[in-house]
Amino acid sequence: MSFLASEGMTGGYGGADIIRRCTIEAEQGEVAVIVGPNGAGKSTAMKAIFGMVMLREGAVVLDGEDITRLSPQERVRKGMGFVPQERNVFTTMTVQENLEMGAYIREGGTADTMARVFDLFPILKERRRQLAGELSGGQRQQVAIGRALMTEPRLLMLDEPTAGVSPVVMDDLFDRILEIRATGIAILMVEQNAAQALTIADRGFVLVTGQNRHTDTGAALLADPEVRRSFLGG
């Protein structure tokens, strides 16, 4: 079984089901990407894995442990880190305080972890006394990811990390994500920029109307003519 195995997820926000029998998996040291057209339920699938969406059916298993019934906070303790798409930093707190808040649930020292985050994102070290609200969009994303890394997660989930940033910043962010992958963490992300995301993906899930349509390695999906035609614009 995969490190993260969420199988047959069906559910939504109280009304009609948004995802149906949806299956998402991720391995440690790999990047898994969920892509698909607008309204396909990509973010919903990720939120379901994180416990922010009630599931009617299906199960979420992390490292062999069934966590389907746990709250998001409890899942954080189990080793999940989540970076929301919007409002993902504390704008009125300094960069350093943002990172400290990321480690809020951890007991004991967090200096090592913070040093590692600063190694990964050197600009944050420079700006650590500045308010997060004063940073540029790309730097804010770094704060947001850094905050999630402070719990030393085994699975890092990113909801559209490159939404609204310039192509240069996007490339830079993807590079950092690959660096994070190199530390052995499992990474799962939802991406709007499907073609670019699949180039760094070890595994891709194409969702359509809440269901799995294609599942393969990133490279294979990029090479698949049907996927190219339908989802990647030719």
Partner: protein, 338 residues
């Protein structure tokens, strides 16, 4: 030259000293309102009466101490009774939360429902305070009255105008400085304080980070109750204790909080001083002040008072309305604790 000195002393004595003391009291009150707003997102209409409740307990304790002959002269006895007032105000806030507000919080009711519920709490608390101690005006101060007496000041400086600083005014400023410093240290240097700021800034993200909402709300009520009791008792020592006055204080307190940007602690303090100083400055009669500064032939005929002192309460609101129109977020961008 002495004329200028006399004019400055005159203004200090009648505008600045009372304004700073009153400003400190407003700042403490506004901090409480702003903290509750930052965390629970509603304007607490019961805050003025929580101040009255805490002060009442401090007053009852003062009487008890005086009866036993316990005191800390020359300082007012109420100062050692204050901890009892704080405990009472905090206990009231926590039980009001448990019995009233928690229910709506858990149901995620819109903030306006909590606001209206706070009106119910306000009614009941006004009844409780009057039931226990009645509606009358009572003195809270004992001990020495002045730090500097006007006559001593005149003798020491040789000026015609005297400067008097009441002990209560000095104490108010010192106690406020301590309370505000402690609060800012708590908010910026402790784990719990940072959690409060985080929750106020971005509730969802704070929950994700493992901040417990119940804990944060508990701190907010605790601090608000403490500040309310301190503000009320200092106001009572400086002036007097009358339940209705404390309800009326709610208006300038709200004005201060919004003026500085509601949810913003520094703003609350700045707002408190602006409101208090404008109240004293606008209602002061400048005739004598100008007589010192202007040549004799220019001497003003009227009192040179912008508005009569009866308009005190109104002034804070004129300022408030102007600020809301020009800069709706307040002087500092409000909404969150920072």
């Amino acid at each position: 030259m002495t004329d200028v000195a006399n004019a400055i002393v005159l203004l200090t004595n009648f505008v600045i000293v009372p304004g700073v003391a009153y400003g400190s009291q407003l700042a403490l009150g506004a901090l409480g309102v702003t903290l509750v707003f930052g965390i629970l997102r509603f304007a607490n209409f019961a805050h003025g009466d929580v101040m009255a409740f805490g002060t009442m307990v401090a007053l009852l304790t003062t009487w008890w101490f005086q009866g036993m002959g316990v005191g800390i002269a020359p300082l007012p006895t109420a100062l050692i009774a204050l901890p009892f007032g704080i405990v009472a105000a905090v206990a009231f806030n926590l039980s009001a939360d448990r019995v009233v507000f928690r229910f709506y919080r858990r149901r995620k009711s819109p903030p306006v429902i909590l606001l209206i519920a706070s009106v119910g709490v306000m009614f009941a608390l006004q009844g409780i305070v009057r039931f226990i101690i009645g509606p009358d005006d009572r003195r809270l101060a004992d001990g020495a009255r002045f730090i500097i007496k006007a006559s001593e000041f005149k003798a020491a400086t040789g000026l015609k105008e005297g400067l008097a600083i009441k002990l209560s005014q000095g104490l108010t400023v010192v106690v406020t400085a301590i309370a505000v410093t402690a609060l800012f240290w708590f908010l910026h240097r402790t784990r719990a304080g940072k959690a409060m700021r985080a929750y106020s800034d971005n509730e969802d993200l704070a929950l994700l980070s493992g901040v417990s909402p119940d804990r944060v709300v508990l701190y907010a009520w605790l601090i608000a109750g403490t500040l309310a009791a301190v503000a009320g008792t200092m106001y009572g020592i400086d002036k007097s204790f009358k339940p209705f006055t404390y309800f009326q204080l709610l208006l300038p307190i709200f004005a201060s909080a919004i003026l500085g940007g509601i949810g913003h602690p520094i703003g609350a303090v700045v707002g408190g001083f602006i409101v208090a100083l404008s109240e004293t400055a606008v209602t002061y009669a400048y005739k004598k002040f100008l007589r010192y500064l202007l040549p004799e032939s220019w001497e003003p005929s009227g009192l040179m008072q912008l508005l009569s002192t009866d308009y005190k309460l109104a002034i804070s609101f004129v300022i408030l309305v102007v600020v809301l129109l020009v800069r709706p977020t307040g002087i500092f961008r409000g909404r969150v604790l920072s």
